[in-house]
Subunit: 346 residues, 4 copies
């Protein structure tokens, strides 16, 4: 059995890791840390998990220092995670970091958007954990930077176009995303209270969301060009899900069926990407609770304009499901282990 520790595990991504790992045949969760809930039973905070983790209590971070494990999941916030995972990486533990700390290759870009980086030496070691783009590298590393939720939806939506050199870099790439509230994390705040969110909808952090450089890094690398990415996140009155509507202009005329073919080609064999039939577009509900990314395509041939819509569950493919998928790869397991349940779409 693979011994797993989750640090910063009382939030939604931590709870989702516990849900997904509950029936993983090869993994046992030996510890979960939380400063806030230290000493409290996991099932007291999450009664839904009663029967799965009955004995497990949240530990103070100090309590796991000398604990042995095979894999560490960090669900700590960015800035905090880097220092916490360092000793584990150094002692040979495989690490999946769900924070932003190791996603950007360039420490200077990281420091511009986030804060000081105290473990820049690990950046070379870290692999950006989107298996659909970097599967082989993930298998070889021991530090996976789990992608951000918005980048996951945007990258899977746009990669086939970028990879095939079809993007007109002189035109904008507009990524208009809409996320459920779990994306804001678990915290007591008027801004995410039921009454504020319910029957509401808004854009936020316009022009300044930290997932922008992450998208730019990966899309530009694929396209081999500096892309002008405009990203606007919005907050949906739902718990889970991200729908991304991406607008991109092509540098040549492509027919709908040719474009569809490129998507099918890139994602053939991918267990968690479902390209929908032409004329069909996803609803976030159809991936709820699952690790799928569903994609629909619209092309205006004459204007060489493409609208791509992707749907993911931000807590699964956008966070904890991807983390388990990456862990499966790190340990040579079937990549889909414990991730095959059908979505709870209704």
């Amino acid at each position: 059995m693979i011994k797993a520790i989750i640090i910063g595990g009382s939030g939604y991504t931590g709870a989702e890791l516990l849900r997904l790992l509950a029936l993983h045949p090869d993994v046992t969760v030996v510890a979960v840390t939380s400063r806030q809930y230290s000493g409290v039973g996991v099932t007291e905070v999450y009664p839904a998990l009663a029967g799965y983790y009955n004995g497990l209590k949240y530990l103070d971070p100090a309590e796991i220092e000398s604990m042995e494990c095979d894999v560490l999941f960090s669900a700590l916030p960015h800035g905090v995670s880097q220092a916490s995972v360092l000793p584990f990486v150094e002692s040979g533990v495989k690490v999946v970091d769900l924070s932003a700390d190791f996603r950007l290759h360039d420490a200077a870009v990281y420091e511009k958007w986030y804060c000081e980086h105290t473990a820049p030496g690990l950046l070379d070691k870290a692999v950006y954990g989107l298996p659909e783009l970097h599967r082989e590298a993930i298998k070889e590393t021991s530090l996976v930077a789990n992608p951000g939720c918005f980048p996951t939806g945007a990258l899977l939506a746009l990669s086939p176009i970028m990879k095939n050199g079809l993007c007109n870099a002189g035109m904008p790439v507009v990524i208009d995303s809409k996320s459920g509230v779990t994306g804001a994390g678990r915290k007591a705040a008027i801004e995410t209270s039921f009454v504020t969110i319910n029957e509401g909808f808004k854009a936020y952090k316009i022009g300044e969301h930290r997932h922008t450089p992450e998208m730019a890094q990966e899309l530009s690398a694929l396209a081999g060009a500096d892309l002008n990415v405009t990203f606007t996140p919005h907050l949906l009155p739902v718990s889970r899900g991200i729908l991304t509507t991406a607008y991109v202009w092509l540098n040549e005329t492509v027919t709908p069926s040719a474009l569809h073919g490129l998507y099918k080609e890139m994602y053939e064999g991918e267990p968690f990407v479902r390209v929908m039939a032409p004329g069909h577009f996803p609803d976030i509900s159809q991936v709820r609770g699952s690790n799928y990314c569903d994609i629909g395509l619209y092309i205006d041939e004459q204007q060489q304009k493409v609208v791509v819509v992707s749907a993911i569950d931000n807590l699964v493919k956008g966070a904890s499901g991807a983390a388990v998928q990456n862990m499966n790869l790190l340990f040579g397991l079937d990549e889909t282990t414990s991730l095959t349940a059908a979505p709870l779409s209704i």
Copy 2:
């Protein structure tokens, strides 16, 4: 113009008072207090009110001490409100207290359920502000104890039965109520966060909710008997509304049409109680944003059992709308002033 001050006015009931008073032709809000938002513009906290209260800033409570006004609305929490309204009452200001501090006639009962009462001398002066039961007394007093949200729905549902001496006091009176989340007040808490509430539903404070003695006081007074009231509140994943399902057994056989007649009789001429046609029951959506209480009746003649369902908007008829209605009565205005807008049912 009647000069109004609202103390403790940054929560939902305060905001709702501001909404309802925005177009009141006879009232001008001269001050609103809030410790938390002292110095902040009302429209910064509530952008919806832009254009209505552009100059108004929340004041620290100390800033209104020497301010003149004709009416004071207290939206402070119980325990805090009693001391705050005292100087106003003593200086002749008319007061509508939305807290629980003056609802229970008996200080001992108050102290059992709430906390110490520091102004018990005002209890005799205070009138329980349900106009459908105590309209004339409200007109004569200068201290109105605005009813609790759950008692409002329950009392309007059951009064005709109690008043007509039909309740079988040997059987239980079961009041099963379901409230929207604004009933929990405006606060940053995981318990009332969107993700916790959304797609959820639960009972809470079973057997120990503080509105129980308030219901018992008024129902027993009407019935002329000590009633065995069982009250269970539930939390609905909606912003506004209380549906009360009340079960009561009668001490004699009453036909459906006779019972319906008693309800029509008691509420004839009441501007804010709408008794529905036989076989029809209310949905909370049909009173949203309005001061109505809609009522539907079911009777099982053979079992002498009645199920009454009432719907109110907890922020309007259950709090701020009732407060404005009471204020209108206190000043001899048309009782319905500024309360006549049709519900936003869709």
Copy 3:
């Protein structure tokens, strides 16, 4: 592999059966019927199931007449189901009927509440499929009457009291239940449209809901007395979940810990009933997507009054999950097969 056919499988319970059976290691769904969607791919109607049932199309009922199978799930409406399952039962196929057609032992009671019964000869053969009450009989039969969603929540909430002879039959048993909208079935109707339901809440079918005699049959049998059951269903603005708040009076004084002990005792070893710690009550969200029934207890010793709250997912424990559980029992499989995933509580 057990070959399964689902008839009437395009509604929510059919879709939920497909979701739950998707990864069942011992079952393969060989056919699903639907008059409305005959010829249409299952994944066209339910895109969430893409990848699980790619080849499967809904068949016209006539197309399965000569098809071989080991188990038949009927998700047809009551009245229609009885005739449709008859030939299968007669030919030795094991049948789990999710309709109401075989739940009531007495054909006369069925005909009073529903319609004519055309297969009364099967009533003796049918076992009421609540494993917590009738596990051994289920294993022996070949026709399981899958319980109604409301009865499931109510019976699990009240059985320990009834079974231990504690119910005061002279007092009412009040069952106030609140269900998500999937309980109303999948149909195009203004009554269940988003705009009607959203931000709304209401009681319906007061005094006349068809699940009442089903509750009375089972509760009275357990209690060994004719109980006066009052049942009121309500419609919650959520997709899934039933919360039942049951009020019952005892015929003797029982301490909270003694009562809790009786619940623990009855449900010890039950894989899908979780009795919560004293003072804790369930939220429907904590069982979402799972086969659990979570139960919380309140007792007013002095008044000999008990309030029991139970939560289930109406589509799982209240319908399709129970059907799979029953099927597992019919075939001697581990009762929990394909039902062990943790709830999607967030």
Copy 4:
């Protein structure tokens, strides 16, 4: 009193007209038609309106043929409306048509996107009813083409840029809009059922929504150039509200404060447009139930890129509120009459 008739009045826009006109001091609704509900009381279909329209029954369209009125509101679908309003226009009745039938000046464009136009002679007479753009023309006409809900939000968001000649016509204008479900109209359909919509979100009619030419007509006219408008609507799981996120590139460098100044200038004195302070963006909840359009601006000076976010209530400013505003203008009344209630933002 102005006598008003509403045709096609049983849907959401009809109900919203009734809500808004309920307290209009100068208008009395003399008739409402509905084929579906002919003979049924308005308050039976909409119990929320009990007490406002107690005597009013829906009439069959034939019943109003000889009825006198001063203003006709048509809430009929496009294609049907044109023929129905024709006799009223010809007999001198002032008409506000909420359908799309008279919005496009060019019958050929109409016929391309909709269907045959049977009253093209009225197109010259009709005025596009966005008072912020065409107030004086509205006052002079007797046929107002009430704007579409999406165009209203988009046009108010972008007009100041277009009018001031700042739009770079060589770059795209991307309009990404998100609408509540009432925008889909009142109908029985699985697509708009609660279970389908709840916790879901999707794009629809990508590249083919009929509001596109309407936006292009008005924006191009303002800009004096043919604009490349890309419009994508999405369906929000809320009842009311449209948030529009518009992306536009400028043909010169403009500072944030200069841009903000242009918006303040254009909308100064407009009773229903609220330009938010720099750095603030609207939430649809802050305009709910009201006739406001709230607007927030983001500018990336270096990239000459502007993101404008606007929020309206699709049933009020996006439909029935605008219709009442237009009617007020047609009759020389205060434009804001019966539209001044504060939003129900909570």
